[in-house]
Symmetry: C2
Subunit: 400 residues, 2 copies
């Protein structure tokens, strides 16, 4: 008797037929005498459609209200999934975030899960029912509906698996598992049957789009065993394990289009300007990824280059303009026609020459490299957006 | 400083422009230093569309899950209305039924409001915010989302008005007020500027479709002053008052298409059959309206004729077939191509000749009368559906 948490993404629930398919997967696990908790995302394009609705009411829609609106997407999926299960004679009950005991902070739009009160879920499981929990949402201490950020249903699934002590957390999606690159973009991509948390985390953070990086972090912290599976095929998928016996030098490549490159020049004598700028952006929840500080060449000026998510470009420009004099920066330039290509591998630190091999592949492909950053287990380059796909293929094929 | 509860129906919120129009009405009341609680229905055809979604999962969809699904319709409206108000710089907060303190019994699909815990609403009003509550929904003692039946947002509005001791409860809709007949069907209909609870109740029950009858009952019980207004025109509408100084003989006429006529013949010697049948239908929440028991003529058989809502026809037939022998009835005939035409008036009891005048009008119009029932303040006839509109016009025009 095992406890399984299974998460289905929006593409696996997009219409009645797909919902039935997902319900059949759940039903086959339930009849093997396992307890099953299902976590669902909003169907297909629902979240985007709801965001478009918000758009009608101006740029400064209250985040609390946007959350109340968006949360309906997963509530609909959860109710429909429970109906699909009942049609298969599997007793099931849908729970919204507030019913499932998912408690978050009050940071609307990007709330953090603080704890999960599992009383209701355990009672439903004890009564022999499958619990279908709406992902992506929770309840703040003020009694308001919060959402935990896009792709957050993965995180909901892992949080429930951790809180319930589940034996496994299966993430069902529309791909076969975790690949060395997105197989929809790079046909030569190879599937990993196993991967470790750190590699997965880097791939997720870099836009591999199979698992949300927060969910991988949380799975690692609480030792939740993750499996990525295709909801449309009966295949083994990818298992995310504690640690691999031997690290691959390069485990994957990824492309992230949600990036814009900003640069500023130092105007005044404010040695604390960089610190203050980063602090200001952090206060406004703008995540700075790549960061480069170029010291002044003789007679020249210092340049600060950093990347932010594209949706944060306008807000960044506003903040920089408002605080220009106290920061001592000027001349903001923004390039949002870029994308980030990364190679990742937990063994990279001991495998020399990866950066050289990557940059050579890009050079051979005729792709201009705007910016390079490295960490212990990844190397990222920012390239012009129109070269992104070609760059990804070139980089992937040099390693796989 | 008054407290106003304002309810907007689905047709008043059907698109962004209409939402903005409704928000402007709220904003104009709020800036006069009144506290305002807004109750919203689902937009346009949302509820029907969600019901259609349910339909994909078979005839026996769990009612608990249908409620969880349907409740999203009002949740969406509430969040969008709060956004529209914020766009007008009116601070507003949306609340689902469970947040607004609307506690119901656990009768999914047709829950009764048991009480309203106004703490959260009062706190929001005290903070100077407009509260936008999702109508039609509540929370059961088990912690589940319930819906209170179709048209139930009127009832939510009156329940909140009663619990908060509001000065007035305004029901905004797409007609100018309460008429002597539906002006969309009978062009000669006249508007009432005032009407009393009893007359309104009869008109609502009979399908006048302006106010939900439960809301009128509740308003009468708690002395809530109701106003029916057109959200698209600045007009006085209709006030529903405690009592009129002088009763009109006939205050209105109405047509109800949601009716089917059933008849059964006595087969065995079961004197308790009629009681048992009604009890059986009540247990299954099938509301029997018209009921006629025709004693046996010489050598003939007793006939029981009754009407049920059309959507209950299949269920009624099932129940009658399952219990045929114990009830002692047979030969069920169903006619769902009928409609009910009623005339209503609190003063009817003292005004003779109303039934005669009504039946004469129908005779002159060549409409076949299938069935007649009377109460102290109404007379209803069931006629073939295709004659409904003609019958309503003929009856209306003979009194107005």
């Amino acid at each position: 008797m095992a406890l399984i948490v299974e998460k289905f993404g929006g593409s696996s629930l997009a219409d009645v037929q797909k919902l039935r398919n997902a319900a059949a997967i759940v039903a086959s696990d339930y009849t093997k005498e396992n307890s099953v908790v299902v976590v669902v995302s909003a169907q297909g394009d629902t979240t985007d459609n709801l965001l478009e609705l918000c758009g009608a009411f101006g740029r400064h829609v209250p985040e609390r209200e946007r959350d109340a609106l968006l949360a309906t997407g997963e509530q609909v999926s959860a109710a429909l999934m429970a109906m699909a299960l009942c049609e298969l004679e599997v007793p099931a009950v849908s729970l919204c975030g507030w019913q499932a005991g998912v408690h978050t902070d009050g940071n609307h739009g990007a709330a953090r899960i603080e704890d999960v009160d599992t009383a209701r879920i355990r009672a439903e499981l004890a009564a022999g029912r499958v619990v279908v929990a709406a992902g992506f949402q929770g309840l703040s201490a003020a009694g308001d509906i919060t959402t935990i950020g896009r792709g957050g249903s993965d995180t909901t699934a892992v949080a429930l698996a951790a809180a319930l002590g589940a034996d496994v957390c299966r993430i069902y999606t529309d791909v076969d598992g975790v690949y060395s690159a997105d197989p929809r973009i790079v046909p030569s991509a190879v599937r990993h049957y196993e991967i470790d948390y750190d590699e997965m985390l880097e791939l997720a953070t870099l836009g591999a789009q199979v698992l949300h990086n927060r969910s991988v972090e949380m799975a690692k912290r609480f030792g939740v065993q993750l499996e990525v599976r295709n909801s449309f095929k009966n295949s083994a998928g990818t298992r995310v394990r504690e640690v691999s016996m031997e690290k691959r030098t390069v485990s994957g490549t990824a492309q992230d289009r949600n990036v814009a490159l900003c640069s500023l020049e130092r105007s005044g004598d404010k040695p604390d300007g960089m610190y203050r700028l980063l602090s200001l952006l952090a206060q406004h929840k703008i995540h700075v990824d790549t960061l480069l500080w170029t010291p002044a060449s003789a007679g020249g000026r210092c340049t600060l280059t950093f990347s932010v998510p594209r949706m944060a470009v306008d807000r960044t420009a506003e903040l920089v303009a408002q605080h220009a004099s106290e920061l001592g920066f000027e001349g903001l330039r923004i390039n949002d026609r870029v994308c980030k290509i990364s190679v990742v591998g937990a063994g990279m630190v001991s495998g020399c020459g990866v950066a050289a091999q990557m940059l050579e592949a890009l050079y051979q492909a005729g792709v201009e490299v705007l910016c390079v950053t490295t960490s212990e287990i990844k190397i990222s380059v920012i390239v012009p957006e129109q070269d992104g796909q070609r760059a990804l293929s070139a980089v992937h094929d040099t390693f796989f």
